[in-house]
Subunit: 166 residues, 2 copies
DNA sequence: TATTGTTATACTCTATAACTATA
DNA sequence: TATAGTTATAGAGTATAACAATA
């Protein structure tokens, strides 16, 4: 199609706008999570992932894979969250090697405390400035890109080989 | 308009797609910069900002403001870049307190070495999957959001008060 | 032997505060 | 007094490798 080593003004504009907007939104969200719930973004993701999981619990390794972090990194974050009472670590009955990380009632409450502000930030910064039409167009374009990225993951984003009980 | 504490499926989809796409693209770009030029994203930004500046040079403080980092943080990065020969620090003649950071020939070359791969990644991941129409729509929506974000900066993203020689 | 999770450790990056030198 | 830049220092977070327990 076009020269692969060049981007025209429209293409470059879309790229720069994407990076700037996501960075500003991310920054605002980080701040909101910290202010409203004393959570970092990673910690929020841990809690949200647990909440989505059946029973609000996941094995450490599976969770680490979901979040694409090292197991030792997750151990560190789980320690912080457990100390805060938002999560508990319990040995798994079926496999004594495993640890199950479970959301506590406090953890669920913390998500509640934070979620409406979270949504508020997103709405105010990203949604409100756009017409319905533009939101749809934005979502469709980005979803298309995401599907391509997932189909052909850029090396480092590739999910780890998932070892399931054989 | 709508309930500020809720986002419908379309709105939520746009938000999630934005965060996932930007994160994957950022990750791919980081890797490309590291592989092709041994540069982190911050270092690349330093070099690019210098290249855009008249004479390829900027005062440390001005550069720190541009990049929204602390001066000590920039000192650290400037040290790395200088050790790599991509940049030189020279005392300013007009104001003996100031240090001017300048791009070296090597620094310019390094940008060249990295830039086509950089553009290639962006094209391959973000541009190629989209039609021309979609690229335009994406850029327009994001530009609109960006303009709003800049007009009403989310606290922490506010540019610092710029002290100019009074 | 392989896997789970933790620990010990090292490294990168960032920022705050103290400091030096100019203005 | 105020500003420019560096340095000393500390803190957060990440990962790799070694380890203990279990499969």
């Amino acid at each position: 199609m076009t020269d692969p080593e060049r981007l025209d003004a429209t293409e470059l504009g879309a790229f720069f706008a994407l990076m700037e907007v996501s960075s500003l939104v991310q920054h605002a969200v980080d701040q909101q999570l910290r202010t409203d719930g004393g959570l970092t973004n990673v910690q929020f993701k841990v809690l949200m992932t647990l909440r989505e999981a059946p029973g609000g619990r996941l094995r450490m390794t599976d969770l680490a894979d979901d979040l694409v972090v090292s197991r030792s990194g997750l151990t560190y974050q789980a320690g912080l969250l457990e100390k805060a009472g938002l999560v508990v670590r319990t040995p798994s009955p079926e496999d004594e090697r495993s640890t199950t990380l479970s959301l506590t009632a406090e953890g669920r409450q913390r998500i509640e405390d934070v979620l409406s502000g979270h949504i508020g930030v997103v709405r105010r910064l990203l949604i409100d400035p756009l017409s319905r039409r533009e939101i749809t167009a934005l979502g469709e374009a980005l979803t298309k890109v995401r599907d391509h990225l997932r189909a052909d993951p850029p090396r480092s984003a590739a999910p780890r080989a998932r070892r399931r009980n054989p």
